[in-house]
Amino acid sequence: MIEVLHTLSRLAMVSFLLRLLLHLAIAVSFPPLLLGIIGKVKAFFGGRVGPPVLQPYRDLLRLFRKGFVFSRTTTWVFRAGPVVGLITVALAMVLMPLGSHRAPLAFGGDVLVFAGLLGLGRFFTVAAALDTGSSFEGMGAAREATFSALAEPGLFLGLMVLVRHATGASLDLMLSTEGTARAWEATPGALVMVAVSFFALLLVENSRIPVDDPATHLELTMIHEVMVLDHSGPAFGLIQYGAALKLFVFASLVVNVAFPVTTGNPEADWVLFLGAVVALAMGVGVLESTMARLRLLHVPRLLVASSILSVFGIILGS
């Protein structure tokens, strides 16, 4: 009898580990694809063929094979920037549930850790930019730091709406399929507001049009891209990969809120969830192809508007 129990629990353990491995494997390998998809959609709208969807993976491989160029002005802070930037996003990803698949790590209040991790990553990215002593990078750093400071209230206010119907204050519980489904039933209006507000956050945090143009070629108009001008080789690879991961994390955030659907079958749920993330990436591509970038000084309006949407969400939801 005990023997059977033992094997059973061992089986459960093995299947748990396998599921965890699958979860991490998907989260680690999938993100660059999103960049490829966005690029393909934009190329389609521009009437071009565009680079293959898998191009971001090749870019990363190429960068990791290169050597480094460091500015003589820089210190350890410049080298720490890409490393901390990637680690914080990776840890934020570990706290995020992917569709109906629970987050690998969760504890009460980890939702605030999520926000803190993104802040830490941003701090080091900005510090690394300032470490070069370049006026262009300083300019980008100032813009990025200012805009993301204004974006912060939107994130927290949106989370306040979600916590209302959740069973706990961890990201895993607040974004669980059942929790969000319950919230949709109780206060659909509030959830629409939050989903839209989080989508705006995705655009800001990932430097997409209309906030920033990742493909622009003029340093003066850049925000995020100008900050990483001096990084090279594998360090730049870390940054690029971190950016893809961040896009994936925020896309999961939006999909978890906007599309809380589960079939009960884990494999089908993966397909459903990744499909939704791909659809969101295509949406971003369409948006980027059809919209112009906002004037720099109009960006704060977008940020305030997204916070106000969450405020409406709170009022509707309480």
């Binding site: 480094f68 002005t73 510090a127 300019m139 100032a142 730091a145 709170i314």
Partner: protein, 663 residues
């Protein structure tokens, strides 16, 4: 070692005696400094033992002796509330004293150092006495000593007009506050019949007198804590004082205001419903105003001082939410908010104390506090840079450091409030707090970048040198405490249990304690992962070809250090374009116009917007009115004698009329 309150009294005696000896040795600054600093360290060791025992759950103790002053008794006591504020005083006091000895000796050639050494010891001793006192007269004597010692230390560089002005403004605000406290204690006396705290607690004022007491406490102690709009003394004083004194002012002296508030609230017994919302409103408005102003300060230490106001505001919000939630039947929320507020008191003492020591080290290494002159110090002052990295991250409330832990508790309390469905208003508080924290991160990444990174913006920064071990070790000790408190928040929470019970707050729910422990573990893991990741990356760097070159100047071949983004340009977008202009700097520009442009000018005034917009015009107007009374002061002795005679006559007349003519 003497346990109980007498051990702490002995600590005060050692502090004062060693200070006096140092004062006597003014001609030998080396010896005076050694005596004063070792006095503080010895005193702190004597005081720490009883303090830690009380915090660990030991019994409170009291003692008293008679005093010749009317209404005064030498009543002292050591309970958890006292011990809670005593601990940072002693720890930060000892660390700052060691640092301050070396720091002040740099001035040995130009200034007499006996008084600064004595004044520092007196400041610590009087602060300790304030939290020990159990009699209103003793409390006020200690309170005044504290204010005067601090004001004199602030004007240490008395030949600089701004230092004199800072000391002057501080004295004025401190006495406005003290005036409120006199009235406050008289109100207590009116109902209790004695000036002893024990009597206060038995028959506290009720009804409108109780409201008056609470309001006076908010104003009197609030001016010490630095609530907006009574904060105007704070940035001036913190900037002008020697850096180890700034560390004490910001790390501990502001918190004495909270001690007073909590003590008076405790003496009043029953908690009024409006205290919570009042504290929240004061706190959040202070935090928002201060952090917006901190963003564009050009003086390193003034920026830190404004951030102190912001942190004081955060503590007030925590206390207010705790009171409010407690009265509305949300014990879990109340416990979280209280734990966050109390922990933030300690955290802020350690991290801001450390940051002021860093600022002092930078000032020592370069001779300037002007951010536009700094830059590139990370290469020249590597140890200071490490301490500053920790301090800046902690003050930005980022993981894995202690500032994040206390703010985490506070946010979590508000999230729980949201989950309980407490109506939209408290929930909007989250948005405002998030904005405060995000702007703090912006302000500190600016400081970090402008001071440490990039290229030096002046010759003094180019020739900066690292401070000696007497200064770097204290900074590293405080930085280490920041890390330890982030990794072991459970220990800190356990130490707060006594004061939590005394303030009347509920204990943290087991589930939340568990989460707090996990947060500590997460912080530890984050440290490990980041250090390991850094290690791996360095390995990668070593194995790949590395080319060193100039920073990419976007095609421009001759970039200079002056072309970097500086302190003002970094905050320009936020404080001049996005945030309310009312709180922003006053900018005057004369742009070059036309084909043959004339002279162009630009200047930005970063003085306190409230001082500039409200206080200075108001005081100027009052001075105008009073000018019409100037004829009273004629500088003639006979006239003054006449005034004295008239005053005595009037007093006699009043007395005889009141007593109805009877002798």
């Amino acid at each position: 070692m003497i346990a109980g309150v007498l051990g702490v009294v002995l600590c005060v005696v050692v502090l004062v005696v060693s200070g006096l000896v140092a004062l006597g040795l003014t001609r030998k600054p080396q010896v005076a400094g050694a005596v004063a600093a070792s006095g503080v360290v010895l005193g702190a060791l004597l005081g720490l033992w009883p303090t830690v025992r009380v915090l660990a759950g030991g019994a409170s103790s009291e003692a008293s002796a008679s005093w010749s002053l009317p209404g005064g008794t030498l009543a002292v006591g050591l309970d958890p509330l006292t011990a809670f504020f005593l601990l940072p005083m002693l720890v930060l006091g000892a660390v700052a004293a060691v640092y301050g000895r070396e720091y002040l000796l740099l001035f040995a050639d130009t200034r007499r150092l006996g008084f600064p050494f004595f004044g520092f010891n007196l400041l610590i001793a009087s602060m300790v006495m304030v939290v020990l006192a159990r009699n209103a007269v003793l409390f006020l004597v200690a309170w005044e000593t504290m204010a005067i010692a601090a004001a004199l230390l602030v004007s240490f560089e008395h030949d600089r007009p701004e230092a004199l002005r800072a000391g002057w403004v501080y004295l004025v605000v401190a006495h406005l506050g003290a005036m409120c406290l006199f009235v406050l204690f008289l109100l207590f006396k009116a109902s209790a019949g004695s000036f002893d705290f024990a009597a206060f607690a038995q028959t506290p004022p009720v009804g409108s007198a109780a409201v008056a007491v609470a309001v006076l406490a908010l104003v009197g102690f609030g001016s010490k804590a630095g609530f907006v709009p009574l904060h105007v003394w704070l940035p001036e004083a913190h900037a002008a004082a020697p850096s180890h004194v700034s560390a004490i002012l910001s790390g501990v002296l502001l918190k004495v205001g909270f001690y007073g508030l909590l003590r008076v609230f405790q003496l009043l017994g029953t908690r009024a419903d409006w205290w919570g919302p009042a504290l929240v409103a004061l706190g959040i408005s202070s935090a928002l105003v201060a952090i917006v102003v901190a963003l564009y300060q050009r003086d390193f230490k003034r920026a830190l001082a404004y951030s102190s106001i912001e942190n004081v505001g955060v503590i007030a919000v925590g206390l207010g939410v705790s009171f409010w939630a407690g009265s509305r039947g949300h014990p879990r929320v109340s416990a979280l908010a209280l734990a966050g507020a109390l922990m933030h008191v300690w955290n802020h003492a350690v991290m801001k104390g450390g940051m002021f020591l860093v600022a002092g080290s930078v000032l020592h290494g370069t001779g300037t506090r002007d951010l536009e002159q700094l830059g590139g110090l990370s290469r020249r002052m590597p140890v200071t840079a490490v301490a500053m990295t920790v301090g800046v991250l902690a003050l930005s409330a980022l993981p894995p450091l202690n500032g994040f832990v206390s703010e985490w508790l506070l946010y979590l309390s508000l999230l729980r409030l949201g989950a309980d469905g407490a109506g939209p208003l408290p929930l909007l508080l989250v948005g405002m707090l998030a904005l405060v924290a995000a702007l703090a991160a912006l302000a500190f990444v600016r400081l970090y970048g402008v001071v440490l990174l990039g290229q030096p913006r002046s010759d003094v920064a180019r020739h900066a040198h690292e401070s000696s071990r007497w200064m770097t070790v204290p900074m590293l000790v405080l930085a280490g405490l920041c890390v330890a408190m982030a990794v072991f928040p459970g220990f800190v929470l356990a130490a707060l249990d006594g004061v939590r019970a005394q303030v009347g707050g509920p204990a943290l729910f087991p589930a939340d304690q568990l989460s707090l422990g996990r947060l500590g573990a997460f912080n530890l893991a984050l440290w490990a992962v980041v250090l390991l990741g850094g290690r791996l990356f360095l390995g990668l760097v070593v194995r790949r070809p590395v080319t060193e070159d100039d920073t990419w100047g976007c095609g421009y071949p001759e970039p200079t250090a002056r072309m970097q983004y500086g302190a003002r340009s970094f905050s320009e977008l936020a404080s001049e374009q996005v945030l309310p202009a009312m709180l922003g700097p006053r900018v005057t520009r004369v742009k070059p116009v036309g084909l043959f442009p004339g002279a162009a000018r630009f200047s930005a005034d970063d003085r306190d917007p409230l001082t500039r917009r409200w206080y200075e015009p108001a005081f100027a107007r009052v001075a105008g009115w009073l000018a019409s009374l100037a004829w009273v002061q004629r500088g003639v002795l006979t006239a003054y004698l006449t005034y004295v005679f008239a005053a005595v006559l009037a007093a006699l007349l009043w007395v005889s009329l009141r007593s109805g003519g009877a002798p």
